[in-house]
Amino acid sequence: MASISLSNIHKLYPNGYAAVRDVSLDIRDGEFMILLGPSGCGKSTTLRMIAGLETISAGDLHIGGARVNDVDPADRDVAIVFQNYALYPHMTVADNLSFGLRLRNVERRIIEGRVATIAGMLGIGDLLARKPAQLSGGQRQRVALGRALVREPKAFLLDEPLSNLDAKLRASMRTELIKLHRTLGTTIVHVTHDQVEAMTMGERICIMKDGVIVQVGAPMEVYRNPVNTFVAGFLASPPMNLLHGMLDSDRISIGDVVLPLPQSLRRAFASHAGRKVIVGLRPEDFHLKADAAPVAAPIEVVSVTTEVLGPEVILVGTLKNSSAELHIRCPRDFRSEPGAMTVFNYDLSQLQLFDIETTTALMRPVKI
């Protein structure tokens, strides 16, 4: 087990493309860290630099306190699970699992014992004699995971290992990975662009965009206090509604809709009064009942369409005299005809404001 620390890491690919820029991140020993971001933001590049598969153009990488910039991947003692699993096609499952141990000249008896333990743990005991080509996607995924586990490395690097699985299998593997982390306590860096995985699995989330880190924090902290509109619009599904508005000393106007500012927020936003802002309204902060939130303001929403998901209904609608769409999370029995108007009570304590130019959050009203 080991901590992983990245200080001012840069990656410049030979073609001159700067895939990762000035990334600094301290991953604690035993932490479950999520790297989250859209496609092409440099998640895999970062992970591959930690594994030693890409050279580090600038900056320092420490694993377990030792600087490993120039250490061979074979000697870093980390394990990586690739998105396409990269199982050795010419070896049986058993040989795939034991390859790393055999390279280290571990005793036959010990290897067999460990392979059996891991195979039992992952439920692949019956598959040991098969070749990867004879396995289903889910089984390959388990073998790839087993190959990483069997070596008992200092850290696991997982590069979207669940993305090739169907929704049900992905959900159960998610739970299993969390359990696994709880039992082993090994440091895990898990790359994903699935925000559900990010919210449910990680102890902390590191959100990346265009090769830089945008925000690092516990899932709920990042959810509650997104540092900018990118994070606000990336987390959760449906994400936060972002609407253009005007901030005055005692109210916010979004088109024709006027939200009174509660006393506590007035002071916080005072210095920005009279400016245009981006208003962030989470879909789950709209309530049908008037007494659902202590400080609430009524908002009239014209229905465009409803998405009935089963446990809940997502209303897609517009504000009065406005074309900007917003998503609202409603109870499962909610129905609304297109064009019909519903009055929601918006929980003002959850209001988020962002600078219209820099897109950064104006303040973080709630601390957890």
Partner: protein
């Protein structure tokens, strides 16, 4: 869509359907005959005597193995065969590991860049006759003329570029990902090459080896210029049969048949491994 289906189904039973199905077979048979006829002709001639060999329309005269006996008794056929075998095996045994290493270097490290890759390919495009003269000069100086060693070296100038060019694609793509997995698993570069890259590319390497062998087995020009009486290979020997006193057509046919045996013996392997090798990319 449905209408179309009906049409084509109806047509399958009509005149047009029959033509559609039969015509390709007629064309394919014609092509196959074009390729097979000379071989069949040689096979027939090899079992007949000199006199019936040229008869048209073909005539079955005395049928027997006399030509096969003759090539071993009147000509040093065994020696030609042995020389060919030694040279082809030798050249392949040396070329294959070197070509594998070269191809790996190209694929993994882009050694020498595009320039070296194209250079290797370009050497394949030169007419062999351009290489023969300098080789002749160098072999004279080095005392390699008329030796099998010299011939092996000469054949390397053909098979090394050819095989390495062919093998590059087997080390590109997915194999690189597998090696990365092995590297993180604790393998050194050499171990990843030895335990992952080579076994995964094995069908390709085997196919390349077989092709290299056939290339060397059939090579004529270098062997003609550089070999001596004791190191003559089959193609050169066969050519000698043609120029002795007229064309010794019947023994020549027998010799040709025997010299084709190893090539035909290798073909099934070649096909199997080449196809397996080329479809390797489909593996996930």
């Amino acid at each position: 869509m449905i209408e179309n289906d009906h049409k084509s189904q109806g047509a399958a039973f009509g005149m047009r359907g029959i033509v559609k199905r039969v015509l390709p077979h007629i064309i394919l048979c014609a092509f196959s005959l074009m390729i097979l006829m000379p071989l069949l002709w040689i096979l027939r001639v090899s079992f007949t005597d000199r006199l019936t060999a040229y008869k048209i329309p073909p005539e079955i005269g005395t049928v027997g193995l006399m030509n096969y006996v003759e090539i071993f008794q009147r000509y040093p056929f065994a020696s030609w065969f042995l020389n060919s075998l030694i040279v082809a095996l030798g050249a392949t045994a040396i070329a294959l590991p070197l070509a594998t290493a070269l191809a790996y270097a190209f694929a993994r490290f882009n050694t020498g860049g595009t320039f070296l890759r194209l250079g290797v390919l370009a050497s394949q495009m030169l007419p062999p006759i351009i290489l023969v003269l300098p080789l002749f000069g160098m072999f004279l100086m080095a005392g390699l003329m008329h030796s099998r060693t010299g011939l092996v070296i000469a054949h390397l100038t053909i098979s090394l570029p050819f095989l390495s060019w062919m093998l590059v694609s087997f080390f590109e793509g997915d194999v690189a990902r597998l090696e990365e997995a092995a590297r993180v698993d604790g393998a050194t570069r050499w171990q990843a090459f030895r335990h992952i890259a080579v076994p995964v590319a094995a069908p390709g390497i085997l196919a390349a080896g077989l092709l290299g062998f056939i290339l060397s087995w059939n090579e004529f020009l270098f062997a003609l210029v550089l070999s001596g009486p004791s190191s003559q290979t089959l193609p050169v020997g066969l050519a000698a049969l043609e120029t002795h006193a007229g064309v010794e057509i019947a023994p020549l046919a027998a010799a040709t048949v025997v010299s084709l045996v190893p090539v035909f013996a290798l073909l099934p392997f070649l096909r199997k491994h080449l196809i397996k090798g080329l479809s390797l990319g489909a593996l996930k």
